[in-house]
């Protein structure tokens, strides 16, 4: 009951507040256009009728929550999943390149971390560039990568996945360097007294010690990976995917479509982070971790 009092009530109160504010702003922002429409139609609706109209425009400046919810429901559950207007289909397209990029990025990040921990030269020369690499707005480079790869015949999933890779390798590399270095001196010394080789120390001490760090950074990485996949769809004029939905909505001023695509993206992000979190907990339990 404690978590109910301390968490659920405040969170739902604030969410309710957000929804109320959203309705208020929807009325305020849509009112000028509606007034314009009424003047042209020579209508003088009452206040309640006017508010009702602002909340049911086909292309509102700010769609009301229920409009977004209805659009989201229609496009998710009422359409066949093979239709290119279905959000499930579009989310799947984005998800597949997210997952591929996430897998590449995690592998690359772990590889770099292992290299940095074991080769002193790499630590000195590579680490500053890894940090600098993230100050480059890679998303700006995304169109380049896609065009260049398309020119040499690589299209489809891989270019988008590469952008996700670039965004997701960094948290994993940094987290894993920290994790592989996390065993204390005492433990390393103990391995030394066992006459353990470098590879034995690595597999039996460093790797197990780094697992919690790995999953924490993978949560960050998977969210970054999704952002990469969505942005990767923007410059290509991709025909499918959440990013393509956003772009199409922006071209045709289908604001409700944009918002429901955003909701779909958010749900995918939350699910991904949750799945990684659950996987982390399962691995932790399988390795003999006890709930603290």
């Amino acid at each position: 009951m404690d978590s109910f009092r301390s968490k659920i009530i405040p969170v739902s109160a604030i969410l309710a507040g957000v929804v109320v504010l959203w309705y208020v702003f929807a009325v305020i922002l849509n009112a000028p256009f509606q007034r314009d429409l009424d003047r042209r139609a020579n209508e003088t609706p009452g206040t309640v009728e006017f508010i009702g109209k602002t909340l049911s425009q086909p292309k509102p400046t700010l769609p009301a929550p229920h409009q977004v919810a209805v659009n989201f429901f229609e496009n998710t559950f009422l359409r066949s999943v093979t239709s290119n207007r279905s959000l499930v289909y579009n989310a799947w397209v984005t998800l597949s390149s997210t997952l591929l990029g996430f897998a590449f990025g995690t592998a690359l990040g772990i590889l770099i971390a292992v290299g940095i921990v074991h080769v002193a030269t790499l630590e000195r020369s590579l680490m500053p560039w890894i940090i600098a690499s993230q100050t480059i707005p890679i998303l700006a480079v995304a169109p380049m990568i896609i065009v260049v790869l398309a020119a040499i015949g690589i299209t489809g999933l891989i270019p988008k996945a590469l952008i996700s890779t670039y965004l997701s390798f960094f948290p994993v590399a940094v987290g894993m360097v920290k994790g592989l270095r996390s065993p204390e001196f005492m433990h390393l010394d103990l391995m030394h007294t066992y006459n353990a080789s470098a590879s034995q120390t690595f597999w039996k001490l460093r790797v197990p010690a780094s697992v919690p760090f790995l999953f924490t950074s993978m949560k960050v990485a998977v969210a970054a990976s999704l952002v990469g996949a969505i942005v990767g769809e923007l410059p290509t004029g991709a025909v499918a995917g959440i990013g393509a939905k956003l772009l199409a909505g922006a071209y045709y001023s289908q604001t409700i479509d944009i918002w429901s695509a955003l909701v779909a993206g958010s749900i995918v992000a939350a699910l991904l982070v949750m799945v990684v979190g659950i996987a982390g907990r399962l691995v932790d339990r399988a390795m003999g971790g006890r709930p603290a």
């Binding site: 405040p10 030269t121 169109p143 040499i152 410059p235 992000a269």
Partner: protein, 376 residues
């Protein structure tokens, strides 16, 4: 260490140089053959990469590093010079010499990383030089391969062409930077961070708000917020305010979450001490809790410095006036002016690094008391 004494890199470099030496010796004066084109500079490059095998491990470390530095980079310089006018005709000898020079540079970095200088100045210089060599080699290999293999300009222009492009189009780049960075990014960054900070203080005052906002803030920071860009462009028009709005939204939540976490970072002892001084909420906040929160706040400022740049550039994909970095990138890709795109990327990278560096410098000045800055 025995590995250092024998220096496998220098030995391998020598072995790699054997084939180019043979090619060079037998091809002298025969025009029209693969690299080294019978030229003097090609021969000198080969000699430079073969030479260090005799000296590695026999000289004082610093001298060895200096000599390796000269050999590796001299060879690279001569190599790049000799390919000029013969683009796309490089044979295996060319790449072998390149690989050998790279090995020597690696050896040089390895020797330098092992140095433990006792003067502060020297260690700072070393800390800068090692990554600088690494970065320089990325550019050298890029230049050598694109020129040597004759990769089409449209696919990947060599760094020298990008540099020339930057030098030639400074006014355009300048106006793009002014539009994107000085208007959209800076204004959005300042407003977004201030808003996040103020709401965090508010949340700190009102526990109910904090308990409600924190889980939401944590969740929102995992969401693809960048997706609001088209909406903001629709609301605020094509000019910079819409980009600033995207930046505000992107920077708000990291600042909020980090500041709230930072405000909880001061220890119980210190807070109790402030209570015994009869210090109220605001004096405690200003004198104890905010200073203690500074590492967290600067963490958010650093994260936000990259997010802000990304937000502004991506928002420009959805519509801009005819100036701005994102606009330039998307239009020049369409016109196949790839060198201009790379110039824009280089400027963005530079701006991002400078932005990050300035924040990091301010952090060092503000959190001078923190163990990670004191280095003790």
């Amino acid at each position: 260490m025995s590995a250092v004494k024998h220096s496998w890199q220098a030995n391998l470099a020598f072995m790699l140089a054997i084939f180019p030496i043979i090619v060079f010796v037998f091809n002298i004066g025969v025009p029209g053959l693969a690299w080294p084109y019978g030229s003097f500079s090609g021969g000198l490059a080969i000699a430079l990469v073969a030479l260090p095998v005799w000296i590695a491990g026999r000289l004082p470390k610093l001298w060895e590093a200096a000599l390796l530095f000269i050999c590796a980079h001299g060879a690279a310089f001569l190599l790049l010079g000799s390919i000029r006018g013969h683009e796309g005709t490089a044979g295996p000898a060319y790449y072998l010499v390149l690989a050998a020079a790279w090995l020597l540079a690696w050896r040089c970095v390895a020797v330098l990383s092992e140095q433990r200088p006792n003067s502060r100045l020297m260690s700072t210089v070393l800390r800068l030089i090692v990554p600088a060599i690494f970065g320089a080699w990325i550019l050298i290999v890029w230049e050598a391969v694109t020129r040597g293999a004759g990769i089409p300009f449209i696919l990947l222009p060599p760094p020298s062409a990008i540099g020339a492009r930057i030098a030639n189009s400074l006014p355009i780049l300048g106006s793009d930077v002014r539009q994107t960075i000085f208007k959209a990014v800076l204004i959005g960054y300042v407003v977004g961070n201030l808003a996040g900070f103020v709401v965090a203080i508010l949340a700190d005052r009102v526990p109910f708000l904090r308990r409600g906002l924190l889980p939401i803030g944590n969740m929102v920071s995992a969401l693809p917020i960048i997706g609001v860009a088209p909406i903001m462009v629709m609301w605020f028009g094509f000019d910079w305010p819409s980009k600033a709005a995207v930046v505000i939204i992107m920077t708000f939540f990291p600042m909020l979450v980090n500041t709230v976490a930072g405000l909880a970072a001061s220890g119980h002892m210190e807070r109790d001490l402030m209570r015994t001084y009869a210090s109220g909420y605001w004096p405690t906040l200003l004198k104890l809790r905010l200073p203690a929160a500074m590492p967290f706040i600067f963490n958010a400022l650093k994260i936000n410095s990259t997010l802000a740049l990304i937000g502004a550039i991506v928002a420009e994909f959805f519509g801009t006036p005819v100036v701005g970095m994102g606009f330039r990138i998307s239009t020049e890709v369409g016109r196949m002016n790839i060198d201009m795109v790379w110039a824009e990327i280089a400027v963005a990278a530079l701006a991002g690094s400078v932005f990050y560096g300035v924040v990091a410098l301010i952090e060092r000045a503000v959190t001078f008391w923190h163990p990670s800055v004191r280095g003790g």
